[in-house]
C-alpha cells in the first residue's frame, strides 16, 4: 500500500514539475528560455546570491514563519527545484553577497560576515563578524544593498531618508535644504574594507554621492567599475500641481543606471533626469520649473528607464549559458511602480540592456515578464494585486539566472535550453 502511495506521489510530482516546466512558472521569456519555480513561500526574499557550488542564499526583509531571515536553498538532485531549505538569523534586511566562503549579509544598520564550510553550510550562524556597524537607517530607504569589488572592498548603499531633501520631508511647499545635509551620511555609496571588523562611518569612505536610493548595484568585472540603479524621486505632481500633471508625474523622472567612479556625484536632490529632454533638470524644491537645467557637477546616467519602476537589482551577466548577446550585458529587476497612480503601474519585470566595450550597445528590453500573474498584457493597477515582485538577481555557476520575489517569497530559475 505504501509503495502504491509513493508511486502515486512521485507521479504527481512528475506531473506538477512537467506542467510547471511547460508554463515556465508563469513567466513570459524570449524564445529558447525556460523557467522553473526554484522555491516558493520562503519569506520576503530581497537580494539573493549563489556560491560556486550552486547553493543559493536569500536575505529576507523580515524573519519568515520559521523565524529565519537568511534562507539557504540547495537543489541536490539538480531538477531546477530546490529540495533542501534551511535558514538562520533573525534580523530583517536586503543585502547579501557571497565571495568564495565569505557570506556577507546586511541589516538596516550593519554589515555582517559569515563563514561557509566546504558544503556551503554556515559555520557561525549565531556569531558572525560585524564588518560595519551603526549606519543610518531612518525608515525611508533604510535597506542596505551591498556588492564587492575584486579587492575585497564592500560597497554599501546608504539611502537618503528623504524624498527631495526638503526642510520638512514630503510636505507641500517646503523648500529644499541648501546644501542638503543628508548627503554627509547618506544618499550615496560608502566603501569599507571587507575583512576589517567593527568599522564605522569614519573608517569607510563616501565613494559616490548624489544618489537618492540605490537598491541595485553590481561590480562590473568587464569595466572594473561600480554600476548602480537609482530609485528616482516621487510626487512631482502632489507638491507642484501647477508644474506637473498626473501624466507628467507618471513619466518623470527617469529611473537611472550610473557607472560610479570614485568621487562621482549623480545630482540628487538638486536635479532629476528628464527622459524626454534628456537633461538634468533642476528640482522644483530648488527653484526648478521643469525646464531649467542644473547639476553642472553631476554625471549623466549610463542608461535610463520609465519612471518609478523601482530597479531593485542589477546584475552583469558573465555566464556562458545564454546567447552571445547577453554576455556582459545588464539584467535589472524592476520591483514595479506605485507612484504612477492614478495611471496604470509599470515594471514588475526583469529588463535587459546589452553592453559592448563597457557601454550600452542598444535599447533596453523586457527580458522576463508575467511576475504580476495578471492575464495577457493587463497592467498592474493596484500594487497589492501583483502576485510576485522581482527584487533580487543572481547568476548560478552554470550561467542560469535566478530572480527573487519579496511578495510571495518565490525564487525563479531561468535557463537557456533551445
Amino acid at each position: 500500500m505504501k509503495t502504491i502511495k509513493n508511486i502515486f506521489f512521485i507521479a504527481l510530482l512528475a506531473v506538477t514539475a512537467q506542467s510547471q516546466a511547460q508554463n515556465n512558472a508563469g513567466l513570459k521569456l524570449p524564445n529558447g528560455f525556460k523557467a522553473t519555480l526554484f522555491a516558493d513561500t520562503i519569506g520576503s526574499a530581497r537580494h539573493i546570491t549563489i556560491t560556486q557550488n550552486g547553493v543559493l542564499f536569500a536575505k529576507l526583509m523580515y524573519p519568515n514563519k520559521a523565524g529565519k531571515s537568511i534562507v539557504r536553498l540547495e537543489d541536490a538532485n539538480k531538477d531546477g527545484i530546490a529540495d533542501k531549505t534551511t535558514g538562520w538569523a533573525n534580523y530583517g534586511g536586503t543585502g547579501i553577497f557571497v565571495r568564495g566562503k565569505n557570506l556577507y549579509a546586511t541589516s538596516d544598520n550593519d554589515v555582517y560576515l559569515y563563514q561557509l564550510n566546504e558544503n556551503d553550510e554556515v559555520v557561525n550562524p549565531l556569531s558572525p563578524k560585524t564588518i560595519v556597524k551603526g549606519l543610518i537607517a531612518r525608515n525611508q530607504h533604510a535597506s542596505k544593498s551591498i556588492t564587492l569589488d575584486g579587492q575585497n572592498n564592500v560597497y554599501v548603499n546608504i539611502g537618503a531618508y528623504s524624498n527631495a531633501c526638503q526642510e520638512k520631508d514630503r510636505n507641500p511647499g517646503s523648500k529644499g535644504m541648501m546644501p542638503c545635509p543628508i548627503l554627509d551620511s547618506a544618499g550615496g555609496i560608502w566603501k569599507f574594507d571587507g575583512s576589517k571588523e567593527n568599522q564605522v562611518y569614519g573608517d569607510g569612505k563616501r565613494y559616490a554621492t548624489g544618489l537618492r536610493n540605490v537598491v541595485g548595484l553590481d561590480w562590473n568585472t568587464a569595466t572594473n567599475s561600480l554600476f548602480v540603479t537609482q530609485h528616482g524621486r516621487d510626487q512631482l505632481n502632489s507638491f507642484y500641481p501647477t508644474l506637473y500633471n498626473d501624466a507628467q508625474n507618471a513619466e518623470l523622472p527617469a529611473e537611472t543606471m550610473y557607472e560610479m567612479k570614485e568621487g562621482d556625484n549623480a545630482g540628487w536632490p538638486y536635479v532629476y533626469y528628464d527622459p524626454y529632454q534628456k537633461k538634468k533638470i533642476l528640482s522644483p524644491e530648488y527653484g526648478g520649473d521643469g525646464k531649467k537645467e542644473g547639476g553642472e557637477n553631476a554625471i549623466n546616467p549610463t542608461a535610463f528607464f520609465p519612471a518609478h519602476m523601482a530597479p531593485n537589482a542589477l546584475l552583469f551577466y558573465t555566464g556562458n549559458q545564454f546567447p552571445e548577446k547577453y554576455k556582459n550585458g545588464a539584467f535589472i529587476a524592476f520591483h514595479g511602480s506605485w507612484n504612477r497612480a492614478p495611471l496604470p503601474q509599470e515594471g514588475y519585470f526583469v529588463a535587459f540592456v546589452p553592453f559592448k566595450n563597457g557601454k550600452p550597445s542598444g535599447e533596453w528590453e523586457i527580458f522576463a515578464n508575467g511576475f504580476s500573474g495578471l492575464k495577457g498584457d493587463e497592467k498592474v493597477k493596484n500594487p497589492r494585486n501583483a502576485k510576485a515582485r522581482p527584487c533580487g538577481l543572481a547568476q548560478g555557476p552554470d550561467g542560469s539566472l535566478y530572480v527573487s520575489d519579496d511578495n510571495k517569497g518565490s525564487i525563479f530559475k531561468i535557463t537557456y535550453a533551445p
Partner: protein, 138 residues
C-alpha cells in the same frame, strides 16, 4: 445636589442631540468631497483600491485603525503626516506620509468619512464636530 445633577444631565443631553444633528449632516455630497480629496492627495500612495503598497504605504482598506474608534489619532495623522516605525496590523511601512496642514476641519471629516466607508470598510462617518472636539483637546 439634585438640581446640579439635573443641569449636568441636560447639558449631556444637549451635547448628545447636537452630535446627532451633526452626524446626520454628513451628506452624500460630503462623501463626494471626501473622495475628491482622496483622489488628489491620498490615492497616489494608498492607491485607488485603498490597498496601499506592500511594505511601503499602509493599506486603508480593511485597516483596523482606520475603521476603529481612535478618531483623534486619525485626525492628527491627516493633519501632521505620519512616519513612525510601528506595526500596523502586523506589518511595517517605510514611506513617510505627507502632512496636510492646509486641510480644513470639514475637509478632514470628509476624507475620513470617505476612507471609513469605502472599499470593504463599513465604519461610521466622521462629523465636523468630532474633528473640532479633537482640536479643542490639543
Amino acid at each position: 445636589m439634585l438640581h446640579k445633577m439635573k443641569v449636568k444631565y441636560y447639558k449631556y443631553c444637549f451635547i448628545f442631540l447636537f452630535i446627532c444633528a451633526f452626524s446626520n449632516l454628513v451628506t452624500a455630497q460630503d462623501l463626494v468631497k471626501g473622495k475628491k480629496i482622496y483622489a488628489t492627495r491620498c490615492l497616489v500612495c494608498h492607491q485607488a483600491d485603498g490597498g496601499g503598497v506592500p511594505n511601503m504605504n499602509a493599506p486603508l482598506d480593511g485597516a483596523s485603525n482606520v475603521v476603529g474608534n481612535n478618531i483623534s489619532r486619525l485626525v492628527s495623522i491627516i493633519k501632521y503626516g505620519y512616519n513612525e516605525k510601528v506595526a500596523l496590523d502586523g506589518f511595517y511601512y517605510s514611506n513617510a506620509m505627507t502632512a496636510n496642514p492646509d486641510l480644513t476641519d470639514a475637509d478632514i471629516a470628509n476624507v475620513l468619512s470617505y476612507i471609513r466607508t469605502s472599499w470593504t470598510n463599513k465604519a461610521s462617518k466622521i462629523t465636523l464636530a468630532q474633528v473640532q472636539v479633537v482640536k479643542r483637546k490639543k
